[in-house]
Amino acid sequence: VINLLYVEDNDDNAFMLQMRFEMLEGYEVHVAANGKAGIEAARTMRPNLILMDIGLPDIDGLEVTRQLKTDARTRTIPIIALTAHAMTGDREKALATGCDEFDTKPVDFDRLLGKIEACLR
């Protein structure tokens, strides 16, 4: 079973993605609704992979990524930025901050799965 942490403040989006992984076998999705909760969850549950929304209410998703990537306990966890910020430069910014992959909303689920699998390999 692959443990996914999804840091997402938008309830509808969290619900949607959770549902999608439920329909697959072998994925367990945990949702954190803001940055602080995301960092906390990453440290405690040590997920296999983190899906990171960027626009979070308390701490920016990029800042959360930076903190996780500088923390020895969470540094090795691959992070895929999953954001509605799809303008030029957003991808580069995310990768530069430490994200391993980047994908935009609305989510192309098969593409996302491919990226997840690639990150986990």
Partner: protein
Amino acid sequence: MVSHRRSELGRFISIQRRFNYALFGVLGALLLAFAFAAIAYTSSQAERGLREKLDNTASIARVSLTQALWNVDGQVAADFVNALFLDRNIVHASVVYSGNVLAERDRSGANAPPFASYVNDRRFITISADVHYNGRTIGTIRLVFSRDSVREQIILNAAGVLGLAVLIFAGAAVTSMWVTRRYISQPLRELSVSASRIAAGDLDAAIDVEGRDEIGALAQNFDAMRGSIRTLVGELRESNAGLEEANRTLEHRVALRTAEVAAAMREAESAHGRMIDAIESISEGFVLYDSRERLVVCNGRYREMLPPALAKIIAPGVAFETVVRTAAMHGLVQELDEAGGTETWIQKRIGHSHNPAGPIVLHLADGRWVRISERRTDEGGCVGVWQDITDLKAHEADLELARDAAMQASQAKSSFLATMSHELRTPLNAIIGLSEMLTQHADRFTPERRQESQRRILNAGRHLLNLINDVLDLSKVEAGKMELQIDTCDVAQLVNDVIATARPLAEKNGNVLDVTLPPDIPPVRADATRARQILLNLLSNACKFSRNGAVSLTVSAVREGSGMAVAFAVSDTGIGLTEEQMGKLFAEFVQADASTAREYGGTGLGLAISRRLSRQMGGDITVCSVQGKGSVFTALLPVATQPGQPATAPTTQPPDVGPLAADTRGVVLVIDDDPTAREVLAGHIHALGFQAIFAAEGQEGLALARSANPQAITLDLHMPDLDGWSVLTALKADPVLADIPVVIVTIDDVSGRSFAMGAAGFLTKPVSTDALARILLPHRSGNRRLSALIVDDDPDHGRRMQALLADLGHDAACVDGGRKAIGWLVGNTPDVILLDLMMPGIDGFQLAECMQGHPDWRCIPIVVVTAKDLSAAERARLGENVRGVIGKSGMAPEQLAARITALLSSVPDQPRAAPAEPVS
């Protein structure tokens, strides 16, 4: 000429005469000598002949008579004597024998004298010859010859000689005269005449003197000389003529040259005049220094551009360094400190003029900017061209602002697009994801899950619709395409409609909704739908950002510019806004915080739309907020004025404040180390209706001043820990305390220094109540409600100040420019004016100047509110009524409130002729 020479040299004697005189003299003398010699010779010859004849006769006689005598024959003797007498020269002849005259004859006859008488007579020659015989003298013959024949012969000879001499003389004379005349005199005369003619200038007269002699040669030479002279004279004449010609040419040239020089001088003068005119006519300042760095010339524009203190010293001859130094010493230039001090600046400035490298820009103390372009001249001087670039600078600043604004707008647009993309993608993500699953895996959905998914799709779809509607609304308003149905709206109905919608929103977050709607609120002119949209936007925002708090809507009528408005103030107890957020809140395409918008929902465009709508309806929305405490959003809508029923100001005018009771005038802090002095001052202060608090030391005084916020401070100078000057300096350096008036109370007269350091008053001990009253009474405070006029071209800032003053219990009207302020002042006299300086049209400086010139306005106190650092000259320009300066930024609202309170507390409550009238 000749006669002149004659007279000079004495009597003129011709050469001929001189020669003849000399010749005649010599010849005469020679002839005379010859004549006399000849005469003498012939005479002696005659004498000798006569004597020989006598001797011969005697000899003959002796011979002839020897016999006669021997015989003593008288006859023979007599015959002999007679024969002798044939010679006519014989005068006497006698023959003597032994003393007896044997014969005698004498031509004189009988009376013949004795022989002896002849002997000594010069006329006769005598001879007595003895006749010898046999050696014995036998007789004597005596003969006398007359010398007459000799004399006759001599005379004849002399006559002949003389006659010859005379003949020779005459011949010689005539010859000489002829010769001298012919060969000397005449040629010389002719020569002389010719010479005279030559002397008289007649060089053509040939000298016609013949002769192969010296004179001829002389004449020829002379003639040759005349020829030469004539040639020479001819040449001389020619050269003279040439010279004269040259002279005339020269004179002509000189005349021409003189005329040219005069013309050139006139030209030069006129050129100089033209140059001065040209220099004067150029729009830039012009100044020329010579190689010794002395001012040569400058134009009027240059003087105009100089500050008056500097223009005074500008005159030809003034040294460049003097000019620079004067400018620096009088603080006429603003960059002194930046340049590293006055002296450094002076040296830099002089150095630049020596070696100009590009133009320099000076910021003068009066706010003007000048660009100075300097060039060295070939003669080592320096030309400066001064250009007033104040407008250019202002324009530059405007351009910079415009550019910044454009860049911000562009950035905001990009940011808006990014945000919009994000905001659209977020609900779409849910919609697409969920509907994809519902389509692909419909069989795997439980009914509950399906329902949940469908509900979420619907919500997200609705959110998208709202978003799109808001964007469309905003773009319509932006483009001015929003069509409004402006009509008279009843405020109560409007409020009730909105409250009905807002109440559920408030309750959703556990908020209490409180509405204050006075009964006499006039109707507004507005589009009812849009007015509802605005109020609902404000109320829903308030409800969203407050949880378990209170949301209130307070409606009031306010004076708005020259008219009336209804203010709908929506306050919440939510998270509030930072200063920065407030600034951006209404800006196009900008949300205060995108994540906030997500947390609290909404598109984040509501406020931008609401403000634009309200402005389009003649109103506005302002905001006042304290972070963490909540915000107040106030929508203003103009009052609908109906004919014959002018809008009126709220009937709830503040009651006029009566005479102040004791203890309400405020607190006076007494800083003095002497207990007796404190007691005395306390007595006076109480007598004036103030409370007194005390500090015995400087530090304590400063602490008390901060904590007690006194109305005024009295300050002793001599204190043990911190002297009064230091306390005063510390008070004036603290922005919160700086405006508390400080009265110096001391023994020495140091009033000048006191006022220079910012003291409001100065008293020497012992202090009288009256003297203290004069200083303190203008500073008393109380519950007095002031009317203030805010003049500010930035409506946001004006409203903020207005709200702040309202919170502090004062009335404030706000106008957005100097011109409107003057219009407002015509009907109203405020207690104080809060004046922004930099405004388009009539700016703050001009308004202050205008007020100084108006009898009713010159006493109105002014509080300057500006973002500008004021120079001394600018302060002076604002006049004496400026109570203080409030910086436009960098002050928290509480701090600002404290500062305004302090400044307003110094506003005197002087009696005024006309209190503020309601605007009709």
